[in-house]
């Protein structure tokens, strides 16, 4: 049937994203529900340039971004580093970051999420915020670490690490 391929538009996008996803950093405990995963040094972030990582496992691509100013929940010396799951919670396509508006935009069905405001849906078909990766910052080492998720990552029954 001609329409059937569309079913998988979302999933195909999501799979592509998974292939891009990096493996979890060594040292993250495989059995932990909320592993701690190093994202990078705050100094290395450039405003508006997303850093790809994955959390809580290799099948969960995520983006960390230094925004143009401080936001609630932002970490780093300027409280401006945030991170989100990259999988649109509509049908799982990987979202893109638009630095000018500081929003995530999904190319599949055009859902837009506010990167400054906890991933709130500005307009679209997603029914929850884009899941936010909780970050911590260690000033001594300048390291940003992912430690948990707010909201359910697309495709999952919970946010526990998958084998």
């Amino acid at each position: 049937m001609p329409v059937s391929r569309r079913n998988f538009l979302g999933s195909a996008g999501a799979l592509a994203a998974l292939e891009l996803a990096t493996a979890p950093r060594p040292g993250a405990a495989a059995e932990a529900a909320s592993p701690s995963i190093k994202v990078g040094r705050a100094k290395a972030f450039k405003v508006g340039v997303p850093v790809q990582f994955s959390y809580p496992d290799a099948a969960a691509p995520a983006l960390a971004i230094k925004l143009s100013g401080p936001v609630p929940g932002g970490v780093g010396p300027a409280h401006d580093i945030v991170a989100y799951s990259q999988l649109c919670v509509h049908k799982g396509c990987p979202v893109n970051f638009n630095a000018q508006r500081e929003v995530f935009m999904c190319p599949c069905h055009f859902t837009t999420y506010d990167a400054e405001l906890s991933g709130q849906v500005i307009i679209g078909h997603a029914t929850t915020n884009l899941p936010r990766i909780r970050l911590t910052y260690d000033a001594a080492s300048d390291v940003v670490t992912a430690v948990g998720v707010d909201g359910l990552i697309y495709g999952r029954v919970n946010n526990k690490r998958m084998a």
Binding site: S11, M105, L152, A163
Partner: protein
Amino acid sequence: MTNDISVPIPPANAQRFKTGCKYCIVGCGYNVYKWPVGQNGGTSPAHNALHADLTKPNLVDWISPTMHGVVKDRDGSSYNVAIVPDGDCVVNNGLSSVRGGSMGLSVYREDAPTKDRLKHPTIVQHGQQQVSWDDAVELVAGVTKALLDQHGPDAIGTKFADHGGQGGGYEFTWATGKFFYQSVQTTMATVHNRPTVFGEPMASRIMGIPELNIAYKDSELADTIVISGGNPYADQTNYYFNHMIPNLRGGTVDQKKAAYPGKKISANGRMIVIDPRQTITVTTAREAAGNENVLHLQLTPGTDVVLNNAIGRVILEHHWENVGFIGDHVEADSFGPYKQSVGMSQSLGAVLSDAEHVTGVPRADIIKAAAWIAEPIGTHPPATLFHYEKGAIWSIKNWDVIASYVDLAVLTGNLGKPGTGCARLGGHQEGYVRPDYPGKRPGVYVEKLLAEGQGPKLWWVIACNPIQTAPNAFSVLKFIQERGRIVSDALDKGGTIQDRIKGVVDAVNAGGLFIVAEDIYPTQMVQHAHVVFPAATQFELNMTSINGERRLRLYQKFMDPPGEAKPDWQIMALVANRIKALYGGENNAAMVARFSGYDWQSDADVFKDASTASAKGRLDAGAPDGLPTTSKPTFDPEDISFLDHAFIQSLGNNGIQVPVNVQNGQRRGTERFFTDGKFNRPSGKAAFIAAKQPELPPEIAAQKQKYKYLINNGRFNEMWQTGYESWRMSNVIERWGSREDAYIELSPHDAKELGVRSGDVVRIHNDYATATAIAYVTDAVRPGQPFMLFAQPKKGTAGFLVTPHVDPETNIPSYKLTYAGISKVAGKPAELAKVSFKDLEIPTRS
């Protein structure tokens, strides 16, 4: 920790049901899983109902947190339900909108914002007091009978929904229609959002073109899709994303080649959007098709007829009209007046310069639109699909705007072939089957009579809220309060039900209005009612509904209604049977007969009754008496002959497209209309209607003289109808804050001039009323033309500001056209701190 968030897994033995989305016209198919709380399935494919390996991400039919709910049946047991978009439904192929994808949040539960569902009947006695069904029915039946006897049928009025989906369905429209039109026989009836009982695109019907005449796949096959006054991204979401967008992206070329062998097919479909706003449909269509394949005609509101006629004039100039079609399928005497109306006696240059001046649309774009609609591609005319919705329907004059638009489809013969058609996009789902309305076209403007102290004495409002959705809505609130007070005073005295019947009858004879509300939530309307009947709704009964391509499905019951709530058909039957018994006691055989025929035992019985009536002939599917016989329809486009619940259920979420006919013992649906060249007039031909650009109606002109801003209004993606349920969805509350305010889109220019920033509270006022709303600054709207969310609760209703003007031909209001002043009231309220005000309508171009 929210990291602990999880959604329970339906076990392999979960109960399964089929349903559709409750909300928009598209009617996406959904699968429902139901299983006892605590008996979850496992992650291996054998242990869950999805047959999915849930140790890996489930990318196909993920159950999001908002698709899950917990319900309690009347036996006290609790169940999980998951309401998941159906990948096998040809309507949505597994896609969900923000509305349908949140239906898990919409079920009644005691620990959620839906907890205030109406559960018990009430009668006013110093506030609404819970009573038995017997008492509530006795009071309403007793008053109805007394008023019938004293004053006749028109003492009983109703305002009732006429649609499918939530708050409707064939069972609903039949039971309520049978009661008011066949038993009571009142003419004092109006439909949920307008002061008439007739359809909104009346001109189209009279032209022989029922408004739902296409199949959704036509938008995959069209070379050009034209949308006038519609925003399908938000309002027909998965029609747009599952059918139109693939075409715009160039993904349906093979289907087009198969439908039109030998025709030159361009890679991307083209889209023309006629809208004063640069909506998200415009911006996302550009993203999908490329700027060069999208034409936005950003007309001055209300100038539709001039624009449509100018496009027709260009088509005729270039001889792009479909001569063969017009010769064979159009009533010949209607063509001359049409040509006259588009200015064939004037030069093209004169028509175009006038059109450019009036509509604000550059002449080059008018010419381009005509070419995209009608200029042959090689030897073939393009397949053009015309759609329209409220921006056209509720514009300056319903009759002429719709006629001038549908004329373009007739002129170019874009009817009855793959990739063509001229259809409304639709708002809610449909499902209309009612006996003939006993009055004349265009019906009675009941709310206006009521505001003037006249009209019916009993007003029974079912599944709608005129305080938010009537023109000049403030006047409705006023008469409800003032005339309702007289009856409340009588009911406050209490007494036996017989005492109260007498008290109410005396009160209404002294100018009072007895208000009965039948609904699911305590809306503002319900709060003003003297008797409240709590209704069941979709998910709580078996009901049938059609979508925008007339696809009929059965939405199964999978949970009990809250408290003592009952399906509307049962409520109507209770009252009808009680009235019948009262007349039986008086040996009044004629009236007993009138109130007979309510012995239904099940939802399926009601459908059967409706189907039998439907089969007897054309019912009142918008085809009123009082028409010249030459323009009477010959078939009912929503006919449900030959159908029953069991058969429809067996067809699952793909259902069947009505009307159905039987060939060789097989029931066959109707994919699209007019494939046989037959139009819905006695001649079997279509007819042009010559349309004229109207003057601004005096009520609106008076506001324009005094106030600076043209207030356009409409829907927003997750906000359904009056927001009666949307504002009980936790994700909507999180997005928009808890104030239940409308927002108003203001251009940056207007915002600057008013000293207003996004999030500020503004006051919008004219001679009719004052409303407040939250400013949302966006350049999607033009300076001087703010856009306000329609029909919102509290003080935000745009309807307060809309004039009482209606089109005299159709009684359809000019909701989209009012003028008001705007001023700032206050800065951004603290509760909106977590609400995003980034541009709504322009999310693309990364």
